[in-house]
Symmetry: C2
Subunit: 219 residues, 2 copies
């Protein structure tokens, strides 16, 4: 590879977007190699034999998988600028709690909105998703970013799902700005950062992809 950093990437993946944002925040040059999920590259299968999933960051030919772990790795190796996690252990544990919360709640619940037929399980997933967003809104409070005045790892974990808000609204028949006005403001604020706007998906493209998933599932 030309650069010492190679990202096995997928443009539409919110998890890959987290890594792209972290790399941009640190001002790192990297090579992005787009994967085809229907025909995964031998390199992806070799570098992430456990999950065979993007993103994988390859640094000097050593692979790191799982987006939240990659973001922490980037922060620890390139710690000279734009710290993504707090230096205080308690605050760091607090940030990790919210990174983990987003990982456990947002995609797993959101996913059910388009992978399930209209049923009780879908309704319950929608309810849990909105409760999670309200919990996140309460945690954000009046700060510009999560727990901080500067953009950080918790923001990086959540912001790729800002592009999914439009899909959640359409499929869940709800208004994010009514339900979680501060979270919508936070999303707009993050989108003013070039590292974010160039890395996340277009909301309309996400919605079209979601509709295609539903069509393919016969829903």
């Amino acid at each position: 590879m030309a650069s010492e950093l190679l990202l096995l990437d997928l443009n539409v993946s919110p998890f890959a977007a987290r890594v792209r944002i972290a790399l941009e925040e640190k001002g790192l040059e990297y090579e992005s190699r787009e994967e085809d999920l229907d025909n995964k590259s031998p390199l992806l299968l070799e570098m992430n034999p456990v999950y065979k999933q993007v993103p994988v960051l390859i640094h000097k030919w050593k692979p790191i998988s799982e987006s939240s772990i990659i973001v922490q790795y980037i922060d620890e190796v390139w710690n000279h600028k734009s710290p993504l996690l707090p230096s205080d252990p308690y605050e760091r544990a607090h940030a990790r709690f919210w990174v983990d919360y987003i990982d456990k709640k947002i995609y797993p619940c959101g996913n059910k909105l388009w992978n399930l037929p209209k049923c009780e399980a879908q309704e319950s997933a929608k309810k849990e998703l909105m409760e999670s967003f309200k919990t996140l809104e309460a945690e954000l409070g009046d700060k510009p970013y999560f727990g901080s005045n500067s953009f950080n790892a918790v923001d990086i974990t959540l912001i790729p799902f800002y592009s999914f808000f439009h899909s959640f609204e359409k499929l869940g028949n709800l208004s994010m700005v009514k339900e979680c006005p501060k979270l919508v403001e936070w999303g707009e604020r993050c989108m003013h950062k070039e590292s974010v706007s160039k890395s996340v998906s277009d909301p309309i493209a996400v919605y079209e992809a979601v509709l295609e998933i539903k069509r393919n599932l016969g829903l």
Copy 2:
């Protein structure tokens, strides 16, 4: 509290056991307060309002939740002895990958062995559980501990489930020593450590608890 460390604890919880082991490894004195899950204490509800679950470690009246995050916190604050995570960022990311893998696979799959009636989903959970153990056995290789010659955070994450092997064998009609001989040896090795043997549950008690869960579910 008498000590500056208070653990909202549950003797039978494999997640609380992780925290007890980490505290013992660091030689820290702490007060353990056993919770009653049918009647959670106001302190637990106040200290972990999001999940309302044990374990919660309260350090100088500040709460930390989620066992893997607590173990990292303990390691970062009391870094003078028994390092639990490697100092090299790449090796640390590697260890975090396996901690996360155990969190995602072992309890969620194992749980289905006793929470589901005999059905396809239960069979598929059993298959995934055994594949996960084989993946962990391969990762362990010929080392005494995960990725290392010394007991560490990955071992701490998995070892409380060694007490569940007996239940997995009974309910899954399998032999762990035949399926994963190195993992069983590793478990025996860890059990020689006092920090572990005094913190994990008795396998027979786990199996009895599991049978009671099944009875209560009418299975």
